[in-house]
Amino acid sequence: MSRIGVFICHCGENISRTVDVERVAAQVGNMPGVAFATDYKYMCSDPGQTLLKKTIQEQKLSHVVVAACSPRMHEKTFRKAVESAGLNPFLCEMANIREHCSWVHENREEATVKAIEIVGMMVERVKKNRVLPAITVPVTKRSLVIGGGIAGIQAALDIADCGHEVILVEREPSIGGHMAQLSETFPTLDCSQCIMTPKMVDVANHPKIKLYTFSEIELVEGYIGNFQVTIKKKARSVDEDTCTGCGVCMTKCPQKKIPNKFDQNIGMRTAIYVPFPQAVPNTPVIDRDNCTWFKSGKCGVCQKVCGPGAVDFEQQDRLIVEAVGAIVVATGFDLYTIDEKPKGSPIKGYGEFGHGKIPDVIDGMTFERLASASGPTGGRILRPSDGKEPKQIVFIQCIGSRAREKGISYCSKVCCMYTAKHTMLYHHKVHDGQAYVFFMDARTPGKSYDEFWRRSIEEEEAVYIRGMVSRLYQKGDKIVVMGSDIAVGVQVEIEADMVVLATAVMPQKGADTLAQKLGISYDKYHFYSEAHAKLRPVECATAGIYLAGACQGPKDIPETVSQASAAAAKVMTLFSKDKMEREPIVARVREAGCVGCFACKKVCAYGAVEEKEIRDRQGNLIKVVAYVNPGVCGGCGTCQATCPSKSVELDGYTDEQIVAMIEAL
């Protein structure tokens, strides 16, 4: 027989003004199983809690109901108090007679009757409450960082500097990401390479960082603190340990006209190559699609000239399994390119801008490569078509972005600033040229950002024209830009030598596939979703997985670095304990009843349901049942409502508890 204690709070006058608390206490005191009922001015106050603890011990209470405010307010408070009095915290429930009763009803009689019923429901419920022991899971103090751009590099360095091992996986042959492609960075015009390459070298030399480049995530299993990750290390055809990075192979390779993706395809590379001179690791990779040896079995010059004998045509892809406790996803972004319309892209295309067929209509990243001192033109702004210096250059913002119907609805966030930067770089390099920018709004919320934008106009003489461009077309060697100036209210026409489009920041291609492997959610554009937009911006809803950088949404460098460090801090918080505790509201399978239909597995958003084989003593398989991994379970209870044989139960919200409440009505 339970001995339930019920405590009715006045909340000053907040409850007692409308609810006759004494009458509630008197009535509830007569309910079966209730051993003690009282009312008190402020239950959450120190004396209120002391009263609660003292009564539990004196009255030998088995369960507690506190009728007061919303459990969202003080459930933790009272459960802690109950625990300190020696009861399991989950034997305490709150009845909400403030937010759901005294504050929303004026009629004293109605409110009092309702309060009695609410308390009665909770009394019946608490009778069915079970002792729930805390769940602890072990934590593997190694982490995986996916993506070797500035976000991944920062997160990896921060975690590794704290002494925890980091596995850094990068898809491309070198780390560096998009930031390594940039010429200079706003709003200070620091050379991107100058601030980026030292960090890349730090990664390469860090004793706690294990770097896998030219590698991809194949499979992720496990849960917070206990992930097993399978990494596919693609065949580089060059042995990383043997190669000295002398570069002779690249100078001798006869295939020299392969467009270099790193240079936005305006520069050329060889078939055996490093994407850029400062690559980390500085080990070349053979592009097997374009290599003569792999195409025809002839050539092999690189192998012949390689002193240390590092070139290995037989190298195969390898699968590596690593155990980690936390994962930082830092896969970055991709840019919309107007010359392609990938299947499933939300952007409908820009035929009016020539679909990428006008050679001197380029995108912002291509301009970065042109402006970069280490780029294909050595930092000179030259037209791709004829190599001439453009004297009239037009920049157009919001290509794809902020175009709900034509493109994507969000703002790409960085284009306003990098376009302002482009006009400055252009003005510095082509003194007698004129830059024009067509824009809708200038969005410059950042430290020293608006000042930077204004400088491009007031000092660097860029002509900003508010209004979008309708169409571009080739006329002789000029590109006619048909726009409008909405401040003046007339059409504007410019014969430009070159046009630069600020194309939309998009998620990486394949972001959805990786998300499915990781079991994290993403939005309709395939940007990864944070657990809470404001209060948990670097965590995924899936425990143990954190987000850094533009994979979560468009971001500039300072924001990306901040988020990467924040993600690293979250990893370190997790790693600060050997075992982690979690609220024991998890689903539990009654194996005897489970028929192994796995309807629960289908509906589980967390991938917490596993298949478990039940064998007899001889090892014969009797049946396969569901098993809910308590480390992974999110505690939503969808499995329970779905289970046809009622063989899975969510602790804290069992059918018994809920039916008891309904029956109390």
Partner: protein, 198 residues
Amino acid sequence: MDARVKKKKMILSQGTMDVDFVRKVEALSDTSVRRCFQCGKCSAGCPMATFMEHPPNRVVRLLQLGQWRRILEGRSIWYCASCETCSTRCPNKVHLASIMDALRKLSWDAEGPSKESYVQLANKLFLQNIRSYGRQYEMRLAAVFNVKSGQFLKDLSLGPKLLAKGKLKMFHSKNRNLSEIGKIFTRIEEMRKNGEAL
């Protein structure tokens, strides 16, 4: 202003954006037109904006693009009352009232092409009065204005009332500095001829 000019497409290039003219305006007005980011506050507070075909913000915008002809072909600058509201409230310290002065000056030099001849006429007569008499005599100013503008009956009813109240002086008193005033006018004319002043 000719509606076709107002709506005419702008062809922008280094050739069509008259930077020299803009520099003149900036020198005369002591203000930078590039500072303007087109917030529209000047037009929002301008008491005369409803009478202008280019509201004040658009005047600055056209200057930014070196399209001064579009401004001078209109009458906006002649409707500015010099109330200084725009300059006072501008978040970027664009001294628009001074820009208007500069534009009127440059338009005056170019003998138009503004169509707002009444204001121009009034200004011309006013300055002539200073040169001839040293001071302003409203009666004379108004009378000559009405004759020259062909509005003989304008404000006719006000005349006798003002006369009766002693508000219209018929005779000028002699100013001993008159020759000095004449010299100032002449010196300025000479400085301009010699390119020493705008």
